[in-house]
Symmetry: none
Subunit: 223 residues, 4 copies
DNA sequence: AATGAATGAGCGTTCATTCAT
DNA sequence: TATGAATGAACGCTCATTCAT
């Protein structure tokens, strides 16, 4: 389905040498963003990290914003793949899938990249349209996994309830990195936290009762 | 109970005129951070927003870092006060207090400041010691409220369990701003989300069963 | 003969309190100039060293240049006094006076102030008229001492010869601070150097033979 | 014998275009230092004098200190070459070499650069390690010329005496710029001064008598 | 495809100076 | 007298970007 490994906004890099360089750039950019934050995310530092001249970096990316956009896409890609893999896994029941989604998100934040990348993305998203779009894409896709699981786990729920619960679970998972992420004070609670979260949120889905208000449209008729 | 309104790392501003200017600076700085993010949080922009010269801004804050630290303190102060107020409220039962803490955090993110400030703080905390310290202080104090409520709501829990559940609730609440915060796509779900969160997390506390491992020390004796 | 101890270009400081403050300022300014050099000779540092506000410092000296001028005068004063004292000393023969002038100049540069002050003065004199004027005054007065001694030590010399020799001795003495001054590598040679200089330059005066060219005007007639 | 014309602490400028620019920078920097002094020796003024942007100047020299160090080296180079040339000259007797060293130093200060540069160097040397090191290098090399000549002119002198006399001559020559240098009041005495100095200091060497204290070790035996 | 050179704007900070109190 | 507040220019330096080679 994918044409090239590296999805880019760059204009150059069609040759195999160019593809290589692009990967080098994106890898360096990711390191810089994760290590020193967006505030020190400079073309100079990226070029230096990638062991190339600023001139050449600019040759691949005419502007810093384009590079950032590509970088966000590349990093987000990785997380989308995790969700896809779980969704497609035929050996798992729906319950197991739900638990695994929750656990994988929390456990993943043991990585420095995860712990450092998301806060940068969130901060950027508040002031940068492209970052906001990338973030929206990521969370829509992430939620679509949960969205599909909820009605199968508890078919009695209205669509509105499903949306709300899905949003609630997603949102609740996002903050974990700051507490049990890489180098955080609560890091040693990470595994216990993952378990507790999996159990709690699964129960939220299973125990939810069809609300009378929101489902009224269809159910009121029957009553 | 408080002696001065403005807690500062500045060196100047002891006169009433100075206090006024300090407030103007911190207010301007908050606006800038919230509106354009830390990446565009410059002394010049702050001075311009505060309608003063850079020279005078530098007169009050010898370095940008000192200003940032003071700003973080001032903003964090506000949130600490919210928790304190709930804790001290004698008209509320413990259950109500717990629910109110949860709700107030989620509802508060309808404010642009809340929605924009925290991601900046989180991002900063990953690369800036002072910001990390400020964030730690904030969450410790926030959690201390929940920490005190949990054992009263469910006395059968071990201390370890309390800590874990407290951490879980805190972490789960932090991510909400990105989903139902100011101008976010899910903003219209904010109130429903607050209710759902309050119910869910309260139940986590009430329904938690004493774990056999950690509480064994005391309970094994009785058995 | 002197009216006030402190000769100033300031406008204020006529009260006794003011005189005290003026002395405090000039003393602080001298410390700053000697310790960190003219390049870091700032009103702020002077005010801080004098333990007063910049506002008050500016009250006494409306500009940095005025303060500098006063400072140069004050420091130069000290050296003028040394020469005067030797000149007036009735217990010394002319030969002894000459030697003492030479020795005192060289020995004086064991002081940090002397070693550090003069290079600043020389550098300033190249770009700052007031400094150049101060330096000229100092050297004219210093040379006037030698000027008066030379014809008495060797009456056969023409006035032109006296001027040249006087200039030669003065100039030769000025460079010593950089070699045997405070903290300089050759500091341990200071005393030997003083002796050698005294002997050498005294002999220059005593051994000089009336030149035929320059003295011709008067002497050619007699011949 | 030299490999490159420009000895630098810069990082850039390896191409021929870069070498040209480097020379332009160092030339401009020398002009600025000589014309307005270190106090007004700013990156902006140097860039302006070199007719380039500050950005480009900073591209060649990441810091002002590096530029200063390179400048000092370049200027000092020139003086070292003068001494070397005299030393190597096979048409001169030792006496002539000594006289020429003395004369060339004094006569050289008719140049504005010499007259203005050295006071800046001396002042800098008191507060700037790199400047102090440059100055030390210059004077050590200058004195090494004299050091080698003295024992040949008067073999009866002990090493201690040679060192002292060498130091004395060097130091005495250094102050001349302030009296007979470019634009100085005594400038018209420059040539006469050079002659007088040459004669005087040569005689100091020739007429010095072996001191009894320092040479005693070896000579006491023979006695 | 890659480099080094160059620009101009902007950064945080410091400066001499002025002014109200 | 003395202070603190305030200004505007300038400081050394870094930035994203452009361009010639």
């Amino acid at each position: 389905m994918k044409i090239t490994i590296v999805q880019t906004r760059h204009e150059k890099g069609n040759s195999s040498k160019g593809q290589e360089t692009l990967l080098k750039i994106l890898s360096a950019a990711r390191s810089v963003l994760v290590d020193v934050g967006y505030n020190a995310f400079t073309m100079r530092k990226i070029a230096e990290t990638a062991d190339m001249s600023i001139g050449n970096l600019s040759y691949y990316y005419k502007s810093k914003q384009l590079l950032l956009s590509d970088l966000l896409d590349a990093v987000i890609e990785r997380y989308l793949r995790i969700f896809d893999d779980i969704t497609r896994d035929k050996n798992l029941t729906d319950e197991q899938k739900m638990k695994q989604v929750i656990c994988s998100i929390i456990l993943d934040c043991e990585r420095k990249e995860t712990t450092h990348f998301f806060p940068e993305l969130w901060a950027l998203a508040n002031h940068n349209e492209e970052a906001a779009a990338g973030m929206d894409l990521l969370y829509e896709r992430a939620r679509s996994v949960i969205d599909r699981l909820i009605p199968r786990l508890n078919p009695s729920l209205s669509q509105d309830q499903c949306v709300l619960i899905s949003l609630f679970i997603s949102a609740s998972l996002e903050g974990q990195a700051m507490f049990v992420g890489y180098n955080k004070k609560g890091a040693h609670h990470r595994e216990a936290m993952a378990e507790l979260a999996a159990e709690t949120f699964l129960n939220v889905v299973l125990d939810a009762k069809p609300s009378q208000e929101t489902t009224s449209a269809s159910e009121a008729v029957r009553a």
